[in-house]
Symmetry: C2
Subunit: 315 residues, 2 copies
Amino acid sequence: MMKIGIDAMGGDFAPETVVMGAISASSKIGSDSKIVLFGDKAQIETILEREKCPLDTFEIVPTTEVISMSDHPTQAFTKKSNSSITVGFNYLAAGKIDGFASAGNTGAMMVGCMYAVKQVEGVIRPAISSSLPTINGHSLILLDVGLNVDCKPEVLYQYGIIGSIYAKRVLHINNPRVALLNIGEEKEKGNNASKTTHEMMEGTKDFNFVGNIEAKHLFTGEVADVVVCDGFVGNTILKQSEGIYEIAVREGIKGTYFDNFNYENVGGTPVLGINAPVIIGHGCSSAKAICNMILQTEKTIRGNIGSELREILSK
Amino acid sequence: MMKIGIDAMGGDFAPETVVMGAISASSKIGSDSKIVLFGDKAQIETILEREKCPLDTFEIVPTTEVISMSDHPTQAFTKKSNSSITVGFNYLAAGKIDGFASAGNTGAMMVGCMYAVKQVEGVIRPAISSSLPTINGHSLILLDVGLNVDCKPEVLYQYGIIGSIYAKRVLHINNPRVALLNIGEEKEKGNNASKTTHEMMEGTKDFNFVGNIEAKHLFTGEVADVVVCDGFVGNTILKQSEGIYEIAVREGIKGTYFDNFNYENVGGTPVLGINAPVIIGHGCSSAKAICNMILQTEKTIRGNIGSELREILSK
């Protein structure tokens, strides 16, 4: 049985939206999967009863503390040892669940990733990634989107490996095209980091490098499946997309491609390069966003990225 | 009489679109302004006659050579001494015209800026800027958008000064709000360069610093009038906007805010921090784009940015 660990106390509207999202996800996951909720047992069960949802739909791991959005990540993770996030990570590190997701305190989630789960041996810096919708109905993996804001070329190179494995094993893209985000298509374009990274990537056998991509071609899907950039640039691209979505909503533009920029449809941000699947959700997640976060966690667990990453890096 | 110098041979469809754009602009500029066309006199006059445009609408400075898009910028600028771009810059440096604009070879234009016009004393690195439309009907100045891709904090700080003067004197914004592009609103967020820059900008009396801005708030117009970032990030933001516009066109979304992302409405990119107004147009400029480039050049000349910049930097 595959166990998908979910922080029931994470997010601005927890546990209400998390439990509602989990109920919705429970009918969509595989028959060999089970959602494990970490949180206040009484509160969770009250919602399940109200919704007439059988209590055995979920496994519940009762926890008594909550790391709030304003808590200091490192301190809270250590001191609130019976919090849903800390207990969840302990379960994950011990192999009692196969993946863990939360829409709660992002900093505390990263502390859990680095100290409880740890990075895969050989990975210089883990990354967080995001899935951008493309106009041809597919999506593109962008990494890093905010974890490492000053990336050395060696780190960007590894993101090519990590992103490629994710696209192959989780998104089932055959021989994914990996591009380097740059301000020109020619190899001599860019800043110091992108020029050196291009040299390192050119001719690599670790992934299918297709060259530079400019931001105007991100959304066509014609150039790349995986786009590598430093976390400052990646986060800026992501936030600009969010801004575009908000404008489309304000302008009343519906039923178009721009609907896909709605974060609710994406669900969460996988942390890549660590020893177990972890997904970080949006703080203000709705039940729909939580449902998608859970489904994404299931897909990421099935992808079993770690094994291939360890293999390539140990070469 | 204010003289607006225009490279009639610059751009993919020159001189046709340039002359057509100039005819269109000639009725829109002030009565104290005159457009000076640099290029092949016979070709220019053939178009004017065909359009039944009086020959004295423009001053024509005949040139015999053209710097093509594929020419090496520095070599071509020097060797093609009778090219429209080189002659135009000579006129600008000698004060025989008040500003110069071209949709031709961008590299050669930058060579002209650096060697013929030169940067204002005290400016570490000039910038190129772009005007982004905001949803409240105004626009926002973004700089740098591609000239300096590895910016030191001192350079970013000066961009705050330069952008503020441009917004005040060319866009007539009173006490323009200057923000630093960052991946969070809190001052401790960002990469090394943005953190140090924030420290330098905080409490400055050189411009009205309003703190960090995230890319999702660029288009609302609610946070800032001027946004400072390094050229790699600025160019990426600009190209992502171009990509969004192309998608809106493909999706058949018309009559909305996204129409404003059409570069034709903007016309060109001012080079800021140099001793005279220079505007670089889009290579594939249409007549409409050229017309807007000319109008923007006129506005920039009237702004007389250089005098205030020299004053602040000499303090």
